[in-house]
């Protein structure tokens, strides 16, 4: 077969596809102004809207959303629990209580941080060569109509036709179940949703952390709620009354309010995600109704293993895929000149304070691309669907009736009505189909129109979510 003498390529001698780590990696801190020969790591030229800390070890979305609030609420509530309730309960009941509480608290905080600080499954953008190759294919198959051919490709997965869309930003056909998050400006594999409470997208790599977080948070909230109720009941015994008990232990009042309003939404969210896990669906697919068989088509989820146990295991206990973006790898010397450093961030160990914007500003910027649209399945009480409605911050504060609201509620509805109204508007908003879910998802406030009309005044906070 070899009639010509081909020059043997020595793979070691070539400047390659794989970057050669330059000898002394001087800390790339503040490298932007230096000469191109300074070794740069890939996170410094990462084109998406992410921030990196610890020299690329930690990745967060550009807007941390209300993550500081989530973390603060959890820490404050647990702190009050340990200070006010535990001493009394240890004396009167059992010393297991602070132990269980402590374990749950540690578990919740660790999984929360892992959800926020892990790469959710970001797909690196296509190289210029790949993009050119794909463009060529698209142009060659274009027909002679005056409209450009739709940039979708159909594949057959388990006898189901699935359309793969072309991502204009990342210059590639998105793999199945991948979606482009406009907040982070990345394509994320097995995209579930962008969670403002966690300040990150939830995707293939961190879904299990997210699920563990919400389940353990449900346990923690229910546990604290139960303990506080027991504590106050014990104190109020002997005819002393609830007011007396609350005066003796004011922290318990705060905990009671926070837990009472949050336990329902968090339990609902856990229930919803348990349903998603058992049927191997993502929030995005559930909202869009991709596999629900609308319009009389015979569709079923092609990714499901048709067995609840196997679905759960594969989603939660499957192999942990590696991060594809190789944040800490070094750029090859010739590429560092060409790669556009769109948004490089100087590394800093101090987390920026996002709360300075104020909660209203946070809510306005914190939108979740796929939102409540489809009908609630069988009327289950998990009204907090794609909207990770972490009650703790939501209900006690009348200005934040929902986690997903793009616009804060007009005026200040009384706190006791906020929850009822929030539930009502959630249900109403869910019936509004969200038209803008195709293609690159973008927070579009004009889309809030139909939703807010359907949901009424406070409904705006939910439906406006995009």
């Amino acid at each position: 077969m070899k009639n010509c003498e081909y020059q043997q390529i020595d793979p070691q001698a070539l400047p390659p596809a794989t970057p050669n780590p330059p000898p002394p990696p001087r800390g790339p801190h503040g490298d932007r102004g230096e000469e191109p020969t300074a070794p740069r790591r890939k996170w410094q030229v990462f084109p998406g809207k992410n921030r990196f800390y610890c020299d690329g070890r930690i990745i967060v979305a550009r807007q941390s959303g209300v993550l500081p609030l989530t973390l603060g609420l959890i820490i404050v509530t647990c702190g009050l629990f340990f200070i006010f309730d535990c001493p009394f309960l240890v004396k009167h009941l059992t010393s297991c209580i602070p132990v269980i509480g402590g374990l749950l608290f540690v578990f919740v905080v660790i999984t929360l941080l892992q959800t926020s600080l892990t790469d959710p499954g970001i797909l690196p953008r296509a190289t210029p060569d790949e993009a050119a190759d794909i463009e060529k294919q698209i142009d060659n198959t274009g027909n002679a109509s005056y409209r450009p051919p739709p940039r979708t490709k159909e594949v057959l997965i388990n006898q189901q036709v699935v359309k793969l869309k072309y991502c204009f930003t990342c210059k590639m056909f998105r793999p199945p179940r991948t979606s482009h998050c406009s907040l982070c400006d990345n394509c994320v594999e097995r995209f579930d949703h962008h969670c403002p409470w966690v300040g990150n997208c939830v995707g293939k790599r961190n879904y299990r952390f997210f699920y563990t977080f919400i389940v353990s948070l449900s346990f923690l909230t229910a546990f604290i709620f139960g303990c506080v109720t027991t504590h106050l009941a014990l104190r109020a015994q002997g005819g002393k009354g609830l007011m007396f008990a609350l005066q003796e232990s004011p922290g318990s009042a705060v905990e009671l309010v926070v837990c009472f309003f949050s336990v329902w939404s968090i339990l609902g969210l856990s229930g919803f995600h348990t349903y998603l896990v058992s049927s191997n669906l993502t929030t995005n697919e559930d909202i869009k109704g991709s596999w629900s068989g609308k319009s009389g088509e015979d569709v079923s989820n092609p990714y499901s293993h048709k067995n609840i146990f196997v679905n759960c295991c594969s989603v939660l206990c499957g192999p942990m895929p590696p991060s594809l973006i190789d944040r800490r790898g070094f750029l090859p010397a010739d590429e560092s000149v060409q790669t556009a450093a769109v948004d490089t961030e100087l590394p800093t160990l101090a987390t920026k304070s996002v709360c300075t914007q104020g909660t209203k500003g946070l809510l306005e910027s914190a939108t979740i691309p796929p939102l409540l649209s489809a009908s609630c399945p069988q009327g289950k009480p998990h009204s907090a669907r794609s909207c990770p409605d972490k009650g703790p911050a939501v209900n006690p504060d009348p200005e934040l009736p929902t986690s997903c609201g793009r616009r804060p509620a007009a005026g200040s509805p009384p706190a006791r009505h906020a929850k009822a109204r929030a539930k009502k508007s959630k249900r109403a908003a869910q019936r509004v189909p969200n038209p803008s879910l195709d293609g690159p998802v973008s927070p579009a406030s004009p889309d809030a129109g139909p939703g807010s009309q359907a949901g009424g005044h406070v409904g705006a906070t939910f439906a406006s979510l995009h």
Binding site: Q7, I9, A17, Q114, P176, T212, L316, M320
Partner: protein
């Protein structure tokens, strides 16, 4: 046909030489160690079995002159099998997952996962294939992990042989 391929290669050549090599290409002995990139072929993912990592085994026409179809298919099939091994759902991966969950996933910080071990195996296999089969034919396989598991990139280098009519 061939003329199409030739024009394709030349357009690629124009487009990408700037990206890859900065050295001037002259016909000297020194340059034999750094051949110019002629074009790149991208083997795309095969999604017919779902979202698992699998590449198409269809033989690209640009490689017809350089490589055996069977050789190519064998390489890609072995890669597919290795990725399937990495992503296999079975007792071992479930055990790893459950253990990780119990420790709040902190073991991921200290332990190398099964997937990572197989990825190392894959990169060794690709290196081996490059040395034995692809480099002698003026080709270079790029590890798909360098391309986000999107494509298997095969770089075709210019044919420096004397009197080649291709």
């Amino acid at each position: 046909g061939r003329s199409f391929n030739a024009s394709l290669l030349s357009s690629f050549n124009i487009g990408i030489t700037g990206l890859c090599f900065k050295k001037v290409k002259t016909h000297s002995l020194q340059d034999l160690r750094q051949p110019a990139v002629s074009s790149k072929v991208f083997v795309q993912r095969d999604y017919n079995s779902g979202t698992i990592s699998k590449f198409q085994t269809k033989f690209p026409s640009e490689l017809e002159s350089r490589l055996d179809k069977q050789q190519f298919e064998e390489t890609i099939q072995t890669l597919n099998n290795l990725y399937a091994e990495a992503e296999k759902l079975g007792g071992k991966s479930y055990l790893e997952g459950c253990l990780a969950c119990l420790t709040a996933y902190t073991i991921f910080l200290c332990m190398e996962t099964h997937y990572e071990k197989v990825l190392k195996k894959i990169s060794r296999y690709i290196k081996d294939q490059n040395e034995k089969i692809y480099a002698p034919r003026g080709l270079l396989l790029t590890d798909p992990i360098e391309r986000g598991l999107r494509v298997v990139e095969i770089t075709i280098f210019e044919d420096r042989s004397i009197g080649s009519g291709r």
